[in-house]
C-alpha cells in the first residue's frame, strides 16, 4: 500500500502515524509537506495526523485546512482515495469541508488525555471492517477541542446513514450524541478524535487500534 502522511508546521503526531502505517503495511509512507500541491502518484491512503497544526491558532485545523496540499487531498477524496484524519486531522477535515460539523472546545474546558472506551457503531466501512458492530474497544484520546457539534439535521443524517463510526461509551468532551468519529457519505473519509496509532501493540498497553489499520490495508490491497 502506498500511503502519504501530511506534514503541517506544529503537528507532533505525524511520525507516530508514519511508524504505525509502516508497521502494518511494511512500507514507509511518503511524508508530504503542506506547501506541496500534488500527492505522490498512486497514493492509496492519505493520513492527516494529530497534533496542533499551526499551534491551533485561529481555530484548530483552520490554517492547515487552507494549505496548498489540501486541494489535492480534496480531489483524491472525491475520486475515492481513503483519507484517515486523527485528532487534529479530524479537525482539519471538518474545516476543509470533507466532513460535516465542527470540533469545539471541550465542554468541561479540560484537556482530556486518557484511554477511553468506544463503541464501534458500524463495521461496514473500510476503516472498521475488522471490528464487530457494537464492540467496545479502548483507544487513547488527547485533545482540547474534541467536542463534536453539528446541527440536528446533520446529526440525524449521520446516524440514519450509518456514518457514525465510533461513539464514546461515556461522557468525554461534550460531543453531540457522544460522537467520536464519522465517515463521509461515500465512506472513504474518516475523522476521529481518539488516536488508534497509540494503541497498536502490547507495549502501548493496548492494541485495539491495530485492526483499523489492518482493515484499511485489506481494503486497499
Amino acid at each position: 500500500m502506498k500511503s502519504a502522511v501530511l506534514v503541517f508546521p506544529g503537528s507532533n503526531c505525524d511520525r507516530d502515524l508514519a511508524v504505525a502505517i509502516e508497521q502494518i503495511t511494511g512500507r514507509a509512507p511518503e511524508m508530504v509537506w503542506h506547501r506541496d500541491t500534488d500527492l505522490p502518484e498512486g497514493t492509496d491512503l492519505i493520513a492527516v495526523p494529530g497534533g496542533f497544526s499551526y499551534g491551533d491558532y485561529l481555530r484548530s485545523g483552520a490554517m492547515a485546512a487552507r494549505s496548498p496540499i489540501m486541494a489535492a487531498v480534496g480531489e483524491a477524496a472525491a475520486k475515492g482515495v481513503p483519507v484517515l484524519g486523527i485528532c487534529n486531522g479530524f479537525q482539519v477535515l471538518t474545516e476543509a469541508g470533507l466532513l460535516p460539523g465542527a470540533l469545539m472546545r471541550n465542554a468541561g474546558l479540560h484537556f482530556v488525555c486518557r484511554p477511553v472506551r468506544l463503541t464501534v457503531e458500524n463495521s461496514q466501512s473500510i476503516f472498521t471492517s475488522r471490528y464487530q458492530a457494537g464492540e467496545q474497544i479502548v483507544i487513547p484520546v488527547a485533545h482540547h477541542d474534541g467536542n463534536y457539534q453539528a446541527d440536528v439535521e446533520t446529526l440525524d443524517r449521520l446516524e440514519g446513514e450509518g456514518r457514525v463510526a465510533f461513539r464514546y461509551s461515556g461522557e468525554v468532551n461534550g460531543s453531540a450524541r457522544n460522537i467520536a468519529g464519522i465517515v463521509n457519505a461515500a465512506g472513504n473519509v474518516l475523522g476521529m478524535m481518539p488516536h488508534p496509532e497509540r494503541a497498536l501493540e502490547p507495549a502501548h498497553g493496548n492494541s485495539d487500534g491495530r485492526r483499523l489499520f489492518e482493515g484499511l490495508l485489506e481494503a486497499v490491497a
Binding site: M104, N106, L109, Q149
Partner: protein, 78 residues
C-alpha cells in the same frame, strides 16, 4: 485603512469559554451576570479600497467557521 472583524459563536452553540468566564465573575462576587459569550476580535490593516465584499470573503474562507460562528465587520476611520 483598518477594519475589525468580530467572530462570535452562533446563538445556541454551547460556549464553554463563556461559561468559565461567567463562573469566574460569579466567584469574584459580581451578581446579576445573566450569561457570557466569548468571541474573537481580529484587526486587519488593509490596502485602501478593499471592499466589504472582499473582507466578508476573508471571513467566510478563513476567519470564521460559518458552521458554528457568525462574523461582523467594522471599518475604522474614514
Amino acid at each position: 485603512m483598518k477594519a475589525r472583524v468580530f467572530v462570535t459563536l452562533k446563538p445556541g452553540v454551547l460556549d464553554p469559554q463563556g461559561k468559565a468566564i461567567h463562573h469566574a465573575l460569579e466567584g469574584l462576587g459580581f451578581e446579576g451576570v445573566e450569561d457570557v459569550r466569548a468571541g474573537k476580535l481580529i484587526e486587519l490593516d488593509l490596502a485602501e479600497g478593499t471592499s466589504d465584499d472582499e473582507i466578508a470573503e476573508m471571513c467566510r474562507k478563513l476567519l470564521a467557521n460559518t458552521v458554528i460562528e457568525n462574523f461582523k465587520i467594522e471599518r475604522l476611520g474614514a
